[in-house]
Amino acid sequence: MIRRKRRGDLADHRGPWMRRRPWLGGLAVLVLAVGACGGNDGDDASDDANESTADEAGDPVQGGTLVYGLEADTANGWAPYRASYATSGYIPLSAISDSLFAVNDDGEIVPLLASAVDHNEDYTQWTITVRDGITFHDGTPLDAEAVKFNIETCAGSPLTGAAYASVGPVTASGQTVTIQTKNGPWVALPAYFGYGSCGYMMSKDWLASLPDVPQRDPDGPYYDAALAATPADGDPAAPVGVGAFTFDSYEPGNGNVFRAVRNEDYWRGPNGITDEDLPYLDAIEAVVAVDIDSRANALRSGEFDAMHTANAETIAELMDDDSLETVVSDRYGETNYIMLNVAQGTNAMTGAAIDPAGANADNPMLDVHCRRALAHAIDLDRLAEERGGGISTPANGPFPPGSRGYLEDSGYPAYDLDAAQSEMDTCLEELGTDSISFDFNTTNDPFNVETNTLIISMWQEAFGNQVSANITPIEQGQYIGLALLGNFDVFAWRNHGGTDPDQQLLWWISAASAPIGQQALNFGRFSDEVIDENLITIRTNPDEDARTQAAEAINERFGEQVYNLWLGWTIWGISSAPYVNDQVLNTLPDGATGIELAFAGRHQVNQIWCDEGSCE
């Protein structure tokens, strides 16, 4: 979904970019007219896009340094197995390297650095063939050995290992990598090497030189004694990939710059293997500008050529600014929600007690009627209007429109104050109390605090003294730690983007739920046999209809049990100066249209170009 303007007649409000690219206005109207109607809405528009870009913006010109304002820095260097990649990290990452697989405009996983992918009959063995003739920036070849090494770093890393827990033995021969799966079939394996950080290939030599690479860990599954004996003198902050740009310099922190310069030997460039001329820019500089107003001011004053944000109010302002060109999307994006701690009882998969110490025993969120009452009392339309700049969309589940599992009616409690009061009465009766109280954790970002304060005010309007929620702002760095350990009652959160619901398995499966005080990726610690069963179907059943039905069943189960209070689907906006072209264009090597702005603000940068080869 891509939109340019938020209110009124789109045609009347077209900015310069819209005038040069009439397809986007058409797409926006189409999207608004048909609403969220699955993943096919981009086909026609994308064809139009290719034509109008060539017709009206002219042919791409080489040259220029693009300065891109990032919302945050990336912690722990740039190696995928160890770096904490957020959206902002994917801009430098996609400049430095490419992924094994890409996503096309229909949301399908297609080979990119890979030339072919195959699997055995029961999806327990995958064979990936890598394109021949591609080299990393250090001159080493992208071959099966390099891919194997990359996969094993992610599977063996404490940070990324949970997502790759089903990766079994990996073998390499020439350009062919074979992956055996653990724990049965894995039908969506390629999606794990697509748009996620571990899909981006890095030089084996560089990874091997890093001091904490899992292959150096004598207690890890991929220990390599010979490698461990070599000097660990690599710099995790100086990545070596196969991408359109070669690392030049990086200094962490707000106001600092990640700079990469054109890779003359890019595999999609004049000296490459695909008869393309990428990239067009001479260099790209990604500048961390944490403060959203500073970032927008820098764009408006010409210091930045482009920037991104998920702040809906700012996106709305940028869309209204005719001197800028703004692309907006929520495709396969994340869902904003309030996570409820429901830790109690026995884990359906492991048989262990989920809250043996009774740390969560007093949390009213254990009662489904309390959960439903709170859900019924949140006016999502008001929330979208007041806090979402009028452009965000209320959510009714974890799967946004266009994603597998999306349902127009998921059964999630709609805004209804009578139903809310009825559920609250039942809740209070079951708990044997006159009122409930709980702590509501949020990050200390003022915008988030205000948003969640508004939600609390809605509950107070609905229930008066029957509900008491104490908002607790927490520093970002501490926030994830509390979620991992389950130390919360109610928790504002954002997650679950992606093309395949299989990627949610590690967040929702009962096996990922541990007692409070122990780290668990199922933060809310729900253990639900219906969700487990359908997650396993999604992972193991190749039948597309069965997988879709399973995802929809999960959506409905969430709607019924209300483990989370869904708020809205995250919108991301990329705004740029008018001389910047094809900000999010993603034409694949075979000429097909790849997905553009999606997955919570991610997009390619190798096809951006500036008028007359100068980004000024």
């Binding site: 922190g253 707000n254 944490v290 500073s294 210091e303 730690g481």
Partner: protein, 383 residues
């Protein structure tokens, strides 16, 4: 010729003036030739100490005797503040950040001697700190000293420009206001100063950005404002001097204006008192021009309070820089400190606070030494 002879005589009678001038030359010259800022500051610092010692060695020695325990107290207090939150394992978790594991905690407890008593840890930490080892940031993946070394020049430049700008505005305005005391010129200058003092620097920064970077406000076809100056980013001086100053202009002005107003009011007040002294009356009786009386006779004895406030403000500017650097996306110490606080990057917070605290003490020590150079009452005291 006569002027040169006068200067030579002054230098002979007060070698502190010569070394202070030398310190300025080192700062400006070092900056022009690209000398690392830390070395330039150390060189200038050493010159002022030597000069002040030549003028009044006993005074400098007494100041040095106070300086050492002050530094010990400051470092101990900084260390205590950061290390008094929880037991050894809590501290280790703080250092590791949210991704900390039990095994990692064990390693950190060993590495930082967190199981030792507080005073032992302080001595170990101090011994590392004086050798430039402030630990390694788990979040940034860099040595803390490197993080600070990268950020400090940006903040030092910003503060230097802000202070120079503030003095360049405040001194003439203060002298003028004192000269025209209680007349219209004084009232206008004082009103403007009061207004400037009343505006927080972050508000001023937003207004400056609006009018000098974003084109100002538009009414019909008329636009009030410009896009002359950039609203964000830092350009190192060595990369492009012109762009460096363009990018530093708005943040420096935003920081300087409030300072200038304060300085101007202090100078005005002191100078009004000085202008009523007998030696000024004598100078007037001898027919010395007003300009010479103001700049050659009255300014120096009126500037000691200003000098004290200047020293104190240099450190407090770091607080202002925290907001200003964030607003203008400057990668200075203020930005580093703010980010580290939000990320709970324990070692970086500790390192920056230490550097700022020690810097504050040293700047004020320097101001004390400058009294010995500038103030004859201090210069000629023989205890």
């Amino acid at each position: 010729m006569r002027r040169l002879r006068t200067l030579t005589n002054a230098a002979r009678h007060n070698p502190g003036l010569t070394t202070t001038a030398g310190a300025l030359v080192v700062l400006v010259g070092g900056w022009l030739v690209g000398l690392p800022m830390l070395w330039a500051f150390l060189g200038a610092f050493a010159l002022i100490v030597v000069g002040a010692s030549a003028v009044n060695g006993r005074y400098v020695r007494r100041r040095l005797l106070i300086l050492v325990p002050t530094l010990v107290l400051v470092t101990a207090f900084t260390f205590y503040l950061q290390n008094s939150r929880g037991d050894a394992r809590d501290l280790a978790f703080n250092i590791l950040g949210p991704g900390g594991t039990e095994a990692g905690v064990d390693e950190i407890v060993q590495e930082f001697h967190l199981d030792e008593p507080l005073h032992t840890r302080y001595l170990l930490w101090l011994s590392d700190a004086v050798r430039g080892d402030l630990g390694r940031s788990a979040i940034q993946g860099q040595p803390v000293s490197e993080v600070i070394a990268n950020a400090a020049p940006v903040s030092l430049q910003l503060m230097l420009y802000a202070q120079v700008l503030a003095l360049a505005v405040a001194v003439p305005a203060g002298v003028y206001a004192a000269y025209k005391a209680n007349r219209r010129g004084d009232r206008v200058a004082s009103t403007v100063a009061l207004a400037a003092l009343s505006i927080p620097n972050f508000v001023l920064a937003v207004v400056l950005i609006l009018f000098f970077a974003l084109g100002g406000i538009r009414t019909g076809d008329t636009s009030i404002g410009s896009t002359w100056l950039p609203a964000a980013r830092y350009v190192p001086f060595g990369e492009d001097p012109v762009e460096h100053f363009r990018h530093m202009a708005l943040p420096a002005i935003a920081l300087a204006l409030g300072q200038a107003a304060g300085y101007m009011r202090i100078l005005r007040s002191d100078m009004i008192g000085t202008l009523q002294e007998n030696f000024i009356t004598t100078a007037k009786a001898k027919g010395v021009s007003d300009r010479r009386i103001l700049w050659a006779h009255a300014l120096r004895p009126s500037s000691f309070t200003l000098l004290t406030v200047f020293g104190v403000n240099t450190a407090t500017l770091v607080g202002g820089a925290l907001i200003i650097e964030t607003l203008f996306t400057l990668p200075g110490l203020g930005t580093v400190l703010g980010t580290a606080i939000f990320q709970k990057d324990f070692l970086v917070v500790q390192g920056v606070v230490l550097v700022v605290a020690v810097g504050f003490v040293l700047v004020n020590f320097l101001v004390d030494l400058l009294y010995a150079v500038l103030d004859p009452r201090v210069r000629h005291v023989r205890a």
